[in-house]
Amino acid sequence: MKRTLLVYLLLLLLLASAFTSCGREAQKFSEYSFDYFDTVTTVTGYADSQQEFDEIADEVFSLLGEYHRLFTIYHRYDGMENLCTVNELVDGAHRTVTVDRRIIDMLLYAKQAYEMTGGKVNVAMGSVLSVWHEYREDGMDEPWNAQLPPMARLQEAAQHTDIDKVLIDEQACTVTLTDPQMRLDVGAIAKGYAVEMVARQMEQKGIAGYVINVGGNVRTLGAKPDGSGWTVGIENPADDAEDYLAYLQLDGESLITSGSYQRYYVVEGKRYHHIIDPVTLMPADYFTSVSIVCDSSADGDALSTALFCMTYQEGLALIESLDGVEAMWLTVNGKQYYSSGFSGYQTEY
């Protein structure tokens, strides 16, 4: 009788241990926000409790918020200089503005990105992009009256996009735009750059097993707790698509997709998206999407925009000249192309 009791006790213990070990395993949590960079931000991660996850996610959101307020060109905030105030004219000229160190660092990176992409990524193109922005906003407010910006106006604006006229004094932490007609617009790199900076700060605190996704700008922080990489499915925007464009396995890398389906307006039945080629001053129409895999989400953001505005051959040459960067192109006809090392990240599903 005692033995039977013992067997039952053992069984009970076994079951109990099975349940408690389930409880101890880190669980997957996810939280999103609409507050940053005019897109949806999702933080996903493994934590032992909702509270532990919330603390980390809140910190990511809070840091992203700081970058968002510094880099936005559409809002000014009391008692703070940001790119919106750098763009302002006072008595017909730009002031020399003392800014946060993070703005200086980002603009220095922007100049590097300009060099890296052969001028396809130019944060001094705000004059041109603001014309497109105005027509897109009007076109969305009154779709029946949507129009394209007149080419003459775009060409006039394009006279004021010389990035060398963005003067940066690193010592004094100041920015001066020496062309009064010039405007900064960091939309092509701000998200990716901010995500990279936030990710690095979190990594320095030892955070791993998280993913920050700001509107298709995915940065993984380490692997999952079981040591395996994150499987990321790249969405196929085609209506009749049965599967993802690709499945990737990421372990600390970034994946950035620039797509014509992410932001656009419609004029006379045709979509006009937001990625403007600095040469034609029109939305680039080579591809439906371009995805970049590399370590830095900042590089990924700049390169995905740049490749979107180049032919496949030009883009491939650029990617193959860079270490640790791979790309996938989806043409408007639905054909997929890959750089030589892209398959190294691909996984079966």
Binding site: T4, F34, D38, T44, V211, N213, V232, E235
Partner: protein
């Protein structure tokens, strides 16, 4: 002391006839218990409520959860007095936004979603519609 006692009992019980029957009963009982546990687990897995479903969140709060197995139309009304609308349609196991009050209409142009992790977001109305399938473990961790 205790250990000796247990060993003694073990020897005596397996030796006797009555002990053999007892052992058999124990085995049957344990097997039945294991079966019950497995059935319970399987029941939880296969019969858990919802199955494949879409979760609608508005500005971070859950607005509703709807089965993908039942065709339906849901008006997601948001804004101070419900003036904003995203009409969610679930049909043939897929979910899509049929009509929306937002200015860009990007959510309504999005293709129907049905696979784990796929989502449709409406930025102006702060609506996110995400698919959660029963075999969530087999889909990608992230969709981008």
């Amino acid at each position: 002391m205790n250990r000796n006692h247990m060993n003694n009992e073990k020897t005596s019980s397996t030796a006797g006839k009555g002990g053999g029957r007892k052992l058999r009963n124990d085995i049957i009982f344990i097997a039945a218990l294991l079966c019950a546990v497995i059935c319970l687990g399987a029941g939880f897995y296969f019969l858990r409520p919802g199955g494949d479903e879409v979760v609608v969140k508005v500005d971070g709060e859950v607005f509703g959860t709807y089965s993908l197995d039942r065709d339906t139309v849901i008006d997601i009304r948001t804004g101070k007095s419900g003036e904003q609308l995203n009409r969610l349609v679930i049909k043939d196991g897929k979910a899509y936004v049929e009509q929306a009050s937002c200015p860009d209409g990007i959510c309504a142009a999005h293709k129907p979603i049905s696979r784990q992790g796929e989502s449709i977001a409406c930025l102006p109305n702060k609506v996110v519609i995400t698919v959660q399938t029963r075999d969530a473990d087999h889909g990608p961790d992230i969709v981008a």
